[in-house]
């Protein structure tokens, strides 16, 4: 158990560190996808099947694809190698250690750290479905509304690009280059003799 946990944690941490420190942006995105997969494996190791598989489906299957599409459509090739370590690294490390310390102290001194682990639940998916439909129905509807708004927003953005005035066929035909092409084509088509 401990060995499996240690290996998974090492894999996730290594890929997360690689995701922020590699030079090539696409390599960073792929290591991020690997970190997501490591997180999913940690969920599965805790016995949360639904959350683990949903993590793979959503994060590796959709969010990682979104990240790589964003890189594809905005970068356009190799970016100039930038220095990996920023100039204010001392202040950065100090802030990170401070935040980590505060979070750890808060977690360890809260009531969660001293509670017994809860009893293992029965068939998880049915229980999740029940809870989503009875106790957590308001967050479910709010998430649905959010997704609908995102879809409508994406459609509107895409529609505005396509709604620009299409080039008029008449004006296209009257351009000098096209007129020359048509004349040449007519000469070619006239039967000889």
């Amino acid at each position: 158990m401990q060995i499996a946990f240690a290996i998974l944690v090492a894999l996730t941490l290594a890929s997360a560190i690689a995701a922020v420190s590699l030079r090539n942006l696409v390599h960073c995105a792929l290591c991020l996808a690997l970190a997501f997969a490591g997180l999913a494996a940690l969920y599965l190791q805790l016995g949360a099947q639904f959350v683990g598989f949903a993590q793979i489906l959503v994060y590796v299957g959709a969010v990682a694809i979104l990240v790589v599409f964003a890189i594809l459509l905005t970068r356009g090739g190799e970016s100039a190698p930038q220095p990996v370590i920023s100039r204010s690294w001392v202040a950065g490390i100090a802030v990170a250690v401070l935040v980590f310390g505060v979070l750890t102290k808060a977690m360890l001194s809260s009531s969660l750290a001293h509670r017994e682990p809860p009893p293992k639940p029965g068939p998880a998916v049915r229980e999740i479905g029940n809870q989503l439909m009875t106790r957590y129905v308001l967050p479910l509807e709010a998430v649905g509304l959010l997704l609908t708004a995102a879809t409508i927003g994406a459609s509107i953005i895409a529609m505005q690009d396509a709604g620009r005035k299409q080039p008029d066929p008449q004006s296209v035909a009257s351009k000098p280059a096209n007129a020359r092409l048509r004349r040449d084509a007519e000469e070619f088509e006239t039967p000889t003799g």
Binding site: A37, G61, I65, V125
Partner: protein, 409 residues
């Protein structure tokens, strides 16, 4: 000790062949306790790999022969009787080809892409119930696992297209990913219909629910209900698109994009992509057979003496033959036609299918005169009327006119 080993082996094979529960127990008791989970896993996995790799080889032969006969030619017939050894010749050819990697390609990602495609595809086989007691892993969330690993293969297509540093590869990869994401939604929604009616995400449970016979002869498979038939058709079309098969093979069409994201792959890496694509096709056919066609169930009470894995394999092979038939018959869709079809037609139809399935479920308690056909008519109308209306609305008002011919002078 060796006697125990072989006796356990024979008992296990006999129990698997006759559909008895828990076939591995006696064979596993020969091994020490710590080694048993490992041996159990190997015993579950090796038949799957053997059977489906052989099926892959046979399917390449069947496809070439089938396409050849549809196109009024013979297909391979030189290598062995009726060309049956052609897959062996193809395999040897792939193995002995030079492995070319472009000089400016991203070597690590280029190397990892076929592996990242093959491994999730093989993982998907772990949850299919091949027979009455023959499921490798019975997850409580089996279908979710299947779709999760299916979604992971899209990242490998991007890896293949990006790392090749080739315009065609990149364009092909983008189109392939757009196509696969678009068709994932109707695929998952049509299987959500089955999940909703069966009440469980576990594939074993879904096959259990398709037992029984209506009127004594019609199997209780989900395909014999109106929402099941529509869902089956939607699932088949979406799975054609997910496996990048004709008529949705714009990512790999030779006349369009050379070979899309596979342009810079030669030799064995190409063979791995080819293998992974066909294995994906088998897996999704297996899932279609499990969800809609009753999995390992026999179609008639008189045929239940045939072992269950034979029924599963025959359903899978007939779906593969259907895919080959469609490939030989239907022309290729353009990429914008493909995406319009997914978002404007398949997505609304699969949502309507959900509504029809809900109507079917809630009218199950009708018991007045004519309730059975009435239920059928109601649910079928809930699907067929919007189908016609949506189809008419989406043709853009173009009229069908008489076809005119223009002949050469």
């Amino acid at each position: 000790m060796m006697g125990d080993f072989f006796k356990g082996l024979l008992v296990m094979i006999w129990r698997v062949m006759t559909d008895q529960p828990d076939p591995k127990a006696e064979f596993l008791s020969v091994f020490p306790g710590g080694l048993q989970p490992l041996v159990s896993a190997v015993l579950s996995v090796s038949p799957i790999i053997l059977v489906f790799a052989t099926l892959f080889a046979l399917t390449t032969w069947l496809e070439r022969k089938g396409l050849g006969r549809i196109q009024n030619r013979l297909g391979p017939n030189r290598v062995g009787p009726y060309g049956l050894f052609q897959p062996i010749a193809d395999g040897l050819k792939m193995l002995t080809k030079e492995d070319i990697v472009p000089r400016s390609a991203d070597k690590v990602v280029h190397f990892l892409a076929p592996i990242a495609f093959l491994v999730p595809t093989l993982l998907a086989y772990a949850v299919l119930p091949y027979g009455r007691n023959l499921v490798p892993v019975n997850f409580d969330a089996g279908i979710l696992f299947f779709f999760a690993v299916g979604a992971s293969t899209e990242l490998s297509i991007f890896m293949a297209g990006w790392s090749s540093r080739n315009k065609y590869s990149l364009l092909g990869a983008m189109r392939a990913i757009a196509q696969m994401i678009s068709y994932e939604i109707p695929l998952i929604l049509s299987s959500v219909t089955v999940i909703m009616i069966a009440g469980s995400l576990s594939l074993v449970e879904i096959v259990e629910q398709q037992g029984g016979y209506q009127f004594g002869w019609l199997p209780g498979w989900f395909v014999f209900t109106p929402w099941g038939l529509a869902g089956f058709v939607i699932f088949l079309i979406a799975s054609l698109a997910e496996s990048n098969r004709s008529p949705f093979d714009i990512p790999e069409a030779e006349s369009e994009l050379i070979a899309g994201h596979l342009t810079e792959y030669s030799g064995f890496k190409y063979a791995l992509f080819f293998l992974a694509e066909y294995l994906g096709m088998f897996a999704v056919s297996g899932l279609a057979a499990t969800l809609f066609l009753g999995g390992w169930r026999a179609p008639s009470p008189f045929l239940e003496w045939v072992p269950s894995y034979v029924w599963f394999l025959s359903k899978l092979v007939s779906l593969v033959c259907l895919f080959i038939w469609i490939r030989g018959t239907v022309p290729r869709l353009r990429v914008d036609q493909l995406l319009n079809f997914a978002w404007k037609f398949m997505l609304p139809m699969s949502l309507l299918n959900l509504l029809a399935a809900a109507a079917w479920h809630f009218t199950a308690t009708w018991n007045f005169i004519g309730a059975g056909p009435g239920r059928w008519l109601l649910c079928a109308a809930m699907i067929a009327v919007p189908y016609v209306l949506l189809g008419r609305a989406l043709t853009g008002g173009k009229k069908w006119t008489r076809r005119t011919y223009r002949f050469a002078e």
